[in-house]
């Protein structure tokens, strides 16, 4: 086992190194460089341009630069951004990441949850008319041309009805005399969301062993009400109170992107759940459960859905990889200044240090997601849990 892990780690390092080299070469294959626009300025002497190149080390041959970059990378030095000079790529990521995380973590949780429920119902109502219609609707929400759909949503809710803001993540006029940065508020919001989700999850786990079904339901309801009360008090006291109006502003700006992306993203989970659940429904233990006289709902939720959850969760974790990737389009359309826009900007403006840093971030995220997928699989499937212990 130890040898396997070592071997795997060794392979991972090689893959990551290759990933760095490949990305670096790709960025340098783009013709021109970040400072070429300086040449267009007739007042600027050629030497100045040359000096800028020297300052950033762009005059050195490609191979030397690559070598330097990789060595520095493992020392933890990612260089400076070309476009936001005094800032390092890490500063930029630290600034942009919370915004993307807040938006997409919420989108993913909401769309996963709705998708799972819709998929469950689809598999259960197999053969009925409503199944066909819901499936066709979900297929088209899955394959809808996303930018087009997002623009139509923006037009309808933001422009025509005027209910929701068009683009931007805050109203600048509101933040004009704000005592703190938007990032501070973002981080508070993320902390709150994570803690609230965790508490809800714990409540769910602990009430699982209550014998009577009605008692279990009441216990869950009570825990939910307590959570609501708790969050009311949290936002009503201390530093959170000061940030409340600003957090509300951000939340208001989040509604439309979350809603739009959820409509598009839930369908993938729904269709996958439908397939895996339909396979599970053919298993013998479903027949046992039916023979036992269990209610349809219970067979569906406890026996079929629980097993069907396994591949769905794995695919959900893999979507973490595509969060940043997917955020490129969404953030462009909704003018949400997050990681996606940062990647896009750095690539189009050839801000190589930032582009490399964001790419490696995405790469590491992918590796972590793989790891998480394995772990969660083991947690949900006792068959694997035992094996890994022994």
């Amino acid at each position: 086992m130890a040898i396997y892990i070592l071997k795997r780690t060794y392979q991972l390092i090689i893959v990551f190194l290759l990933f760095l080299v490949l990305s670096y070469l790709l960025f340098n294959a783009i013709p021109g460089n970040a400072f070429q626009s300086l040449l267009l300025n007739p007042d600027l002497p050629k030497e100045a341009y040359q000096r800028v190149l020297e300052t950033y080390g762009l005059d050195k041959p490609l191979f030397e630069r690559l070598q330097l970059y990789i060595i520095n990378f493992f020392k933890g030095d990612f260089g400076y951004s070309y476009n936001y000079y005094p800032k390092t790529p890490i500063d930029l990521i630290a600034e942009r990441l919370p915004r993307t995380l807040m938006l997409f973590a919420l989108v993913n949780v909401v769309s996963f949850y709705t998708g799972f429920i819709v998929g469950k119902i689809l598999a259960w109502r197999r053969g009925s008319k409503s199944e066909t219609w819901i499936t066709i609707t979900s297929v088209f929400s899955y394959t809808v041309f996303y930018p087009w759909f997002a623009l139509l949503m923006l037009y309808f809710f933001g422009y025509k009805l005027g209910w929701l803001p068009i683009g931007k993540f805050i109203y600048p006029e509101k933040w004009y005399d704000a005592p703190f940065d938007s990032d501070v508020v973002f981080i508070t919001m993320i902390k709150f969301t994570v803690v609230a989700t965790f508490i809800q999850f714990l409540a769910f786990i602990f009430t699982r062993n209550i014998e009577s079904l009605t008692n279990r339901k009441t216990a869950r309801l009570v825990s939910f009400v307590l959570l609501l009360l708790g969050s009311y008090f949290y936002w009503g006291s201390g530093s959170a109170l000061e940030q409340r109006t600003y957090a509300a502003d951000i939340a208001y700006h989040m509604i439309l992107p979350v809603f739009t992306v959820t409509i598009v993203a839930f369908a993938g989970t729904a269709l996958l759940t439908r397939t895996t659940m339909m396979e599970v429904l053919k298993d013998d233990y479903i027949l046992t459960a039916r023979a036992k006289g269990l209610s349809q709902k219970r067979i569906r939720d406890r026996h079929a859905a629980r097993t069907a959850l396994l591949p769905v969760v794995t695919s959900f974790i893999f979507t973490i990889i595509t969060i940043i990737d997917g955020s490129v389009l969404t953030e462009t359309i909704f003018s949400w200044p997050g990681m996606g826009q940062l990647i896009l900007q750095s690539v189009t403006q050839e801000d190589i240090p930032v582009a490399m840093a964001t790419f490696s971030f995405v790469g590491i995220l992918a590796l972590v997601a793989h790891f998480l997928a394995d772990i969660s699989y083991a947690y949900l499937d006792p068959r694997i849990r035992i094996k890994s212990q022994g």
């Binding site: 013709p31 066709i136 297929v139 394959t143 996303y146 087009w148 623009l151 490129v328 896009l344």
Partner: protein, 362 residues
């Protein structure tokens, strides 16, 4: 009974017969799936559109000059009433002077070249984009080009790109997946790490970079999408399927009877992975159509006409925020992308029902 049927026939004929019957059975199963049939109808509709356009041009029903999706020109003639806008705003009709002239009216100040025109005269003008009429079923765009013809051209692009990249991608991943499963060891480790590497690259930014150093035409894009898709995650899935096939008894018996590794791989393992590969192919057509549209939408492709480009143009010209007044510029292209991608997806669902007995109803 079956034995009698196959007596006195060469093995080739028998296998042909079996294949024919299998196909018949699969088709029966596929026909059962409402979703699959819906998808097939959608695909057939767009295929019809794609084929119809060249026929219309060849038979001379449509003239190139008017209906060509890229360089054609035609727009509706309308009579406009010449009005003079008041100097002060807001008035009953207009709030600012940008609002004047309104529909069917033309501002006298615009007609500087025709000093003889008076308020109240009618003036003949070309309307662009023109709304749908009997001549242009879906109207014309802001350059006076026929939208319906553009949709047809777009569906040609979508079919070409989708099928080409999907075939290429699935070909690559099936081959690599089978090789990884069959040879195992170092080959397997190398191939798996390679697909890890491809999975790590964010796809949209990657396509950005590629489009920055190479001018992408439809063919190029199809190859790029195919290769990226073929090296990525689908290799892993195909490999796990091939691993299941590899331990089946008939592979062992082929080995015992002395088949070479390559021969076993190609004649026993590959055919049994093929259904899954076909499924992948259908699903990846969906992905390829969407990718092309997104890239065109962002203006990164060097393509004359495509659905994504149509939406890109309607967005850059600002029509998308004019609501449904210019609906023929906004809805047909977006719906076409959605429908055709959805059609392929639905066919994939139907095939899934055929190949995966556990999904079948009976």
């Amino acid at each position: 009974m079956e034995n009698n049927e196959f007596k006195n026939r060469s093995p080739k004929e028998v296998s042909k017969q079996i294949r024919k019957e299998n196909f018949k059975r699969n088709w029966l199963l596929f026909k059962q799936s409402k979703l699959g049939m819906t998808g097939l109808v959608i695909i057939a509709f767009f295929l019809f559109l794609a084929i119809l356009q060249p026929i219309l041009f060849a038979t001379g029903i449509w003239s190139r000059g008017v209906y060509d999706p890229v360089v054609g020109y035609d727009s509706q003639k309308v009579d406009l009433l010449v009005v003079e806008c008041p100097k002060e705003y807001p008035t009953e009709k207009y709030e600012t002077n940008q609002d004047c002239p309104a529909k069917d009216e033309i501002n006298i100040r615009v007609l500087l070249l025709r000093p003889d025109v008076k308020v109240g005269d009618t003036y003949e003008a070309f309307l662009q984009p023109a709304p749908p009429s009997s001549k242009h079923i879906l109207g014309t765009d802001s350059l006076g080009r026929d939208v319906f013809s553009q949709i047809m051209e777009g569906s040609q692009v979508a079919f070409l790109l989708g099928l080409l990249s999907a075939t290429l991608g699935v070909g690559i991943s099936t081959l690599l997946g089978t090789i990884a499963a069959y040879f195992g060891g170092r080959v397997d480790a190398y191939l798996m790490r390679q697909s890890d590497l491809v999975l790590m690259l964010p796809s949209l930014p990657l396509l950005f970079i590629i489009s920055a150093f190479a001018e992408l035409k439809v063919w190029h894009l199809a190859i790029v999408l195919g290769v990226i898709g073929g090296l990525g995650g689908s290799v892993i899935t195909i490999k796990s399927q091939a691993l299941q096939v590899k331990v089946k008894p008939f592979v062992d018996s082929a080995r015992i009877t002395g088949g070479s590794k390559l021969k076993i791989m190609f004649s026993h393992v590959l055919p049994n992975v093929a259904p899954l590969a076909l499924l992948f192919m259908v699903f990846s057509v969906t992905g390829a159509i969407a990718s092309e549209s997104v890239l065109s939408f962002l203006g990164l492709l060097n393509i004359d006409m495509s659905w994504g480009l149509m939406i890109y143009l309607s967005q850059t010209d600002g029509y998308i925020f004019s609501g449904l007044r210019y609906w023929w510029l906004i809805l047909p292209a977006g719906l076409s992308v959605t429908l055709l991608a959805g059609g392929f997806y639905l066919v994939g669902r139907g095939l899934d029902d055929v190949f995966n007995p556990r999904l079948r109803k009976r």
